[in-house]
Structure formats: C-alpha cells, structure tokens
Symmetry: C2
Subunit: 317 residues, 2 copies
Amino acid sequence: MVIEKPLRAVDELLLSATESSVPLLAQTSAHILSAGGKRLRPRLVLLSHAAAGGTNVDDVIPLAAAVEIVHTATLVHDDINDDGTLRRGRETINSRWGATFALLTGDFLFAKTYEIMAPYSRELNQILARASRELVEGETLQIKAAKDGKIDQTTYLEIISKKTASLFMACAELGATAAQASPAWIDALRNYAFNLGLAFQIIDDVLDLVADSGQLGKNAGVDMAQGRGISVITDRSDAGGAAVAQPAPMTIKQDTAPGPFKEGLLQGHSIEKAIQKGYETAAEFAHQALESLSVLPESAALDELRALARIVIERDH
Amino acid sequence: MVIEKPLRAVDELLLSATESSVPLLAQTSAHILSAGGKRLRPRLVLLSHAAAGGTNVDDVIPLAAAVEIVHTATLVHDDINDDGTLRRGRETINSRWGATFALLTGDFLFAKTYEIMAPYSRELNQILARASRELVEGETLQIKAAKDGKIDQTTYLEIISKKTASLFMACAELGATAAQASPAWIDALRNYAFNLGLAFQIIDDVLDLVADSGQLGKNAGVDMAQGRGISVITDRSDAGGAAVAQPAPMTIKQDTAPGPFKEGLLQGHSIEKAIQKGYETAAEFAHQALESLSVLPESAALDELRALARIVIERDH
C-alpha cells in the first residue's frame, strides 16, 4: 500500500495530539483516538495528495490527523446525543466518564484540530473550517428532521451531504491542494470524495439495519430507532443499479427497535426492499466517484482510490 | 469612547455570523448572540489594537467577533453542564431547545469562529487556537476538581488562568499583533489582559455569592453549589489590598445552596471573609494589570484600558 508509512505517522500524531495538562482529557482522548477505526478520512487525504502528484508527504500528515480528530470529535458528541454505549469496539466516553466529560472531550478535540491546522495556509484552513461547520449543520438537520418525523428523500440527501460527504470532500481537497494540483485535478478528487461520502453513509445506514453491534463496534439500530437512516431512500425511483458487487447476504436485525418514525420512513416498503434500494443507490454514487477519477494519470494511489470506492460498497462493518 | 463605532460593527458581524442553512441553528445562535452581554473580550481586542497604534481597524473587527463567539460557545456548553436556565437575561438554549440542540449550537459557534479566523495569518490563528484549547482544559479541570472535592488555592488559580485569563490574554495579543506592535508592547498588553482576566474571574465568583440572579442575568449560586468559586482563595495570606475601590456593600445570598464542598473550600473562614479576601486579591491583580501598561504611550485607548481594570473590580453584575 502506497500510504502505509504515512498512515502509521498519522496514528502516532493522533496519539501525541491527546496530550494535555489535564490528565482526564489526555485519558479520554487517548481512549477514543487509540481505538483504531477505519482511518478512512486520513487515507483520503494521503491518497488524494499522492494521486495528485504531491511529494511533500510530511506536510500532509498533520492534515490527515486533523480530519480524523474533527471526525472523532463529532462521534464523541453524537454518542452523547444518542446515548451510545459502544464506539470503535470500546465503551463510549459518555458511558464511562459521563456526558459532561464527553462534551468537554469533544470540545477539546475540536480545539486540537484547530491547533494542528493553525500553522497551515488560509486556503487549507478555509477548507476544513467550512467542512466543520457543515458537519454540525448536517447533524442538527438530522436530529431536527427525526424529531419532526419528516425525513423525505431530499432531506436525507441533504443530511448525508453535510454530515458525511462534506468532510470526505474536504479530505480530498486538502490533499490535492497541498500537492499544488491543478484546479481540474482538485475538482476531480473533490467530486470523487463527495460521491464516495454519499455512498459510504448510505451503506453505513444499511449496515445499521443489518449488522449486529459486535460487528460494527458501535450500537446498531440506533439510527433506525431515531427515525433516520437508509429507509427513506426507498422512494428513489431513478436509482439504477451500477456495476458494483453487492456483499454476501446478511441477517436483517428486525429485532432492533425501529422507533416511532419507522412507518413514515419505510413509506410502505419492507425493510428488505429499503436495504436493496440502499445498496443500489450507494453503488450508483460509487460509480460516479470512480468516473470522476478519469482525468487523473494512472498511479498506485489512483488504484487505491478506485479500490476504496469498491471497499466502501462491499464492507460488512 | 474610542471604539464605539467598531463595537457596533462587531455586533453586526455577530448577528451575520449566525447565518445557517439550518434554521434552528440560526435561531439558537441569534438567541444567545443578540442577547448583549458585556462584550468585554471584543473591547479588549479593539482597545489593545488602538493602544498599540493600530490603524487597520476594519481588519480587527472580525477578530473581535471571533473571540466573542468562541466565548459564547463555551457559555452554551457550560449551561448544559450546569443545567443553567438563565443566561444574559434570557432562557438558556438547553432550557428552551434541550441539551442536544444546545450541544450542537456550541459546536456550530466553535466552527463559525474557525471559519471567521481561517483567512487570517497563522500567527493570529495560533493565538486563538491555543486559547480555545486552554478554555476547555480550564473548564474540565474545574469540574473534575469540584467532583473530587479538591479545589485548593493553586488549583483555583490554574483553573481561572485557563478558563478565563487565557482568552483575555489572547484578545490583547490578537489586537496588538494585528497592529504590528513591537514585542515589548505586545507583552505589556498580554500581561495587562492576563491579570485583568484573573481579577475579572475572581469578582465573577464573588458576585456569584452575593448577587441575585436578576442582577447577574444568569443563575447565581451555581458556582458555589458546585464546589468551585471564590471561597478557595481565603487562605491566600499574601494578598495585599491594592488601591482599587470596593463596591458598595451587597446582600450576601446565604440561601443559595453552597453544595457539598462548602466546608472544605471555606477552610474555616466565613463567607463574608471569603468575599473580602476575594475583593482584595482581585484588586491586587487589577493593580498588576495597570502597572503592565506603563510602557505604552498615552492615548485615549490606554485611558479606556485603565478604566476597564477599575470597572472590572467595581462592577456589581
């Protein structure tokens, strides 16, 4: 893998970023940042940088760490709002240390992200600042729509664009901009990452329906219980199945409480059909992501970006 | 007042900073940002800039807005942790919209701060990034120490240094740096603001004991109930009373529940003595703040910085 070494450097930086004069914050931050995770966003930064011909990889490692930290901050705060007990295979911070310290840990991680980014150019900071704001807007939109019981297809796509795809896009933009790529290449990588983010989130919502908690490393069924998630896209009539393989069949967890909004969301469709449509729509976005890459020259990094689009669709956790 | 016009521009910018594609976030942000408040931190940025000879005031207005927004973000999150119901004379966001949307509003305001700051130099961003991290560390330290029942004088000073004085210091540093002041002038304004911040927080903790909620515009007695606050400095034997007038006597709110840590904190002293010592210590820090200004040339802005040090000590809300 072309980015194996820089990814290890990102992991080391993530751990040193947990340093604090307040032992509790060092402890809670290390608890969540050392728990692993897919490191998908740092990969996107590093691969976009490499695919755009960047060679200054040492400059890009802190950027890759910063996007992982801001993502982790949102997870820590989401777990408070969801009363989540399991994250990345570990007890959540709110479950172990209480909601107050979880709130402060999320704030601490936001501040750490800012501190890592501050020495970089205004261009790079503007990319991550906008994405950070959109993350919060997407999460708010989701919770508000779920409370109101009104998640239609348009709202669902707006939510996942903001809460997931915008940070994916920022990752590609950070990597490509740091590589001083041409506007056309930056645009291609942005489009790739935005579509990848949409596909990723749809699959995430599908997995939330079908996987059990042990497989996911987080609480399954939460999204559905809260009236959000994949089932809203079952009314998407224009979703053509793109040529991306579907994963092996999985057991559908019909026993995870679907919550009060289930009927409105499924809109007459079965959970099975919602899942099938989810895979089809995600495959379509993954296909668009792959197409965006066509302007870039062949490279090992480009191959890995292509592989990533397939992995995102075919993953089972 | 030399900064009257730029302060109005800051207020306008604060309102436009609440813009969001998510109506709920626009609403909650406007609720807290339009509620007024002392705007002490924006004043510090603008006055430091002017006292250091800065003339590019238009460049400094967004900096002044940014520090107010990050401060407000911490208030919104503090109110969740404290179950506060009143802030700046209005119902708190957690009280009116619930803890989840209050959490997201605080995150949104952090992101907005970052977005406003991103176009500025790395030097200015590093100043605010460090202060933001210290704000969170100070708040965490305070809650942890209160929970453990261990707030001694050293811990109290570390807490107020981080949670209050560090942002005050950053305000002065931002203003003076944007004015391209000499290192000696920047240092003088930093020292002024840091000491002012310590004095301000001590008086805040005294007022929390003596004022009623209507006067403060927030819940009085909360700090004391949670085992933090001014009473810990009653063992400060070296506190000499500096030449700053004490305010008129106020009724001591002995009926606000002092919480389980009261005895340990008062360390044998009465609340009256804790208050008296609090004023003396705050006066001492205010005196140090005033002394720091001696290297700066006389100006209307310098006069206002001096006046601020007196107002901080003599305020009753």
